[in-house]
Amino acid sequence: MSDNGETKNIFLSGVGGQGTILASNILGQVLLEAGCDVKKAEVHGMAQRGGDVTTHFRYGKKVYSPLIKEGDADFLVSFELLEALRYINWVKPEGKIILNNHTILPPAVNLGKMEYPADIEETFKKHFKENVWMVNGRDIARELGYIQVANVVLIGALSNFFPDLEAGQWIDVLKDILPSRLHEINVQAFQEGRDVIKAPNA
């Protein structure tokens, strides 16, 4: 990998049930096969019942801490908009943001006690300029006929930022991790995600 041996940090956030764990499993396997050390951390159990979930994903020549330091994330990949905003301070000034255009109302908003924050995409663009990509992961997954693959659409989008890795390497891992009946739909989801954003050379 063209990272000069330093540790890179990917922060994934979302809501329990959105498939962040599968997404980070794919990342882990791809980067391990590319010769990197990897570590990832997530919380299971009570935190999963529709609560906010995060994955700290780190890779490089030798990774010590499984947790990212606040303000040190190179990427924020978020499966839900409010859960992206919640971690905006975790990203480096030059960090890259991939947002899934999906809103899941938290209880206080459902109850009418608070408002869902407006203009989340604009807030990110204000701070991160052209380094913000909005992906309609949910719509793409729905069109493919399988709403659960929105996570793989996002992984497809993120894959653009690894110019040393070919699509085939990602697809091989997808097939390795998932049961064969899910191969076709997930490969499609990955490709759609990969085609959605035109990444500069990261």
């Binding site: 391990l32 951390a41 801490s65 009418g112």
Partner: protein
Amino acid sequence: MKRILQGNEAIARGAWEAGVTVGCAYPGTPSSEIMARLSEYDEVYTEWSPNEKVSMEVAHGASVAGGRALVCMKHVGLNVAADPFMTISYVGVKGGMVVAVADDPGQHSSQNEQDSRQWTRFGKVPLLEPADSQECRDFTKIAFDISERFDTPVLVRSETRVSHCDSPVELGERAESGIERKLDKKEVSKLVMVPMYARVRRQVVEERMKNLTSYAEEDFPYNVMEINDPAIGFITSGVSYLYTKDVFPQYSYLKLGMIWPLPKGMIREFFNQVRKVVIVEELDPFLETEIRAMGFDVSHGKDLVPSIGELTPTIIERCLSKAVTGKEPVSVPARVETEELPKRPPNLCAGCSHRPLFYALKKLRLFVFGDIGCYGLGVAPPLSAMHFSTCMGAGVGGSYGAGKVVGEEGLGKICAVLGDSTFLHSGIGPLMDAVYNGGYSTTIIMDNSITAMTGQQEHPGTGFTIKGEPAPTVDFEQLARSVGVKHVRTVDPYNIKETIEVIREEVSRNEASVIITRNSPCMLLRRARPQERFEHSCYRIQEDVCRGCRICLNVNCPAISWVPEAGVTKDGEKRKGRSVINADQCVGCALCVQICEFGSIVPKAE
């Protein structure tokens, strides 16, 4: 070959490679995946035991018969298993016995954050603390050897950020243990802990600690000194080492893999090689207290490093930068005040059978003694239907005890709720007590047919073993009757009217009673086809009928939300807003249909 494994998976792998023959556990976050993964290996007998005390005893029986045994639990599980654990320390082992205990600093999913390292000194048992998945595999493997070599159970202490972190592991093959499998009557003085024999074993335990200290000093391969810049030397262990190493890579380290007994000579050598020593550990000042007691001059420890909650690289940088580098850490101004954003706490799933039951308890205005499990989420507003919870099974005893004080005044006002798995774990004893000693408590078993919160594990009431094989099933009704409960009722919680009536009758009775929910499997338990029990798969709120009374919002269903738009119903009633159902989330449980007073909720066209 390297594979990415979760810490828990790696503990299971290490045990398998070490030739473990028996594995026992009661699930508990963050430990549950250890036994779940171990059960996938055909060579190993594994089980979900009813509770951790049983696990510990089954594992020890296996060890005494010559098999290597692994027992796993979360930190509070070791409290339950403490009774056998403390005496197994005296009896020792034949096949290696490893006790894997997973702490939860920061209380991600726990009622307290006790530091399990304290058991090691208390129980006079060695403790190993891995930092990542490779060490989980390596330390578990060597723990079996230490156990047999020193005739002691060995603790392997993990925690959330070890158990639930993934990293590459070099895999090995399985080697069967060479220990003969048999029981020997000649060993009575070692196996029967009556006072005259136990006093002898008490001496053996002290001798063992001395031998283990020499081992920690000379032979144990995972106490490691890294001498770099000698200006600062960190003494640390487990994941705290990884965080500190990440933040201050240039300094010297003594990384301890064995937390007890401590290698005093090695610690002395480290103090000789570095100028200032800083101890970094999560939770209690365990290492610091011991190392200070040895007479060493520790520069910093808990004076700077927090004792509460989990550590992170961010916290370590903030609390130690000044002392270590002389410079304050660079702080970046926040882009957004994220603390002010709406929180997203965990919630009961849409359609969960606990929601209508809690709604019924709230309508009856009961003081609810709760328990540990998904139903703990019943405390969250606006449901707000739980008023007491400490540990597993405690609600049953608590409600009965409270009744002894408030007397007849409390009739109709108190009940206890707990789950099926929790009831089998530790609810039967207090239920028996209430019957035997004449209490009037009503115990509601919210039977969702699985251990749900920890991720769908089987138990003696589900009809399946850990390996998914059919098993005898506990009959809760028969069980309650057999301990003397005369009034045992079942309710379908999705029928709100009936549920409220049954609970009202039973809590008013001046005798112990039990109510068991039926037709109420967990929404995530696929084999029970939870959605098929509902007549319609989805409902909608008629926009021109909803009065905006908000009653449906008070059940905290993730599928219902408020639209703050003023308007008028078709009958000309003014409203400040209205409720809507999100079709993606609604599963058709129809709780809201039953509580809407204006008939505005109807099946969505399918």
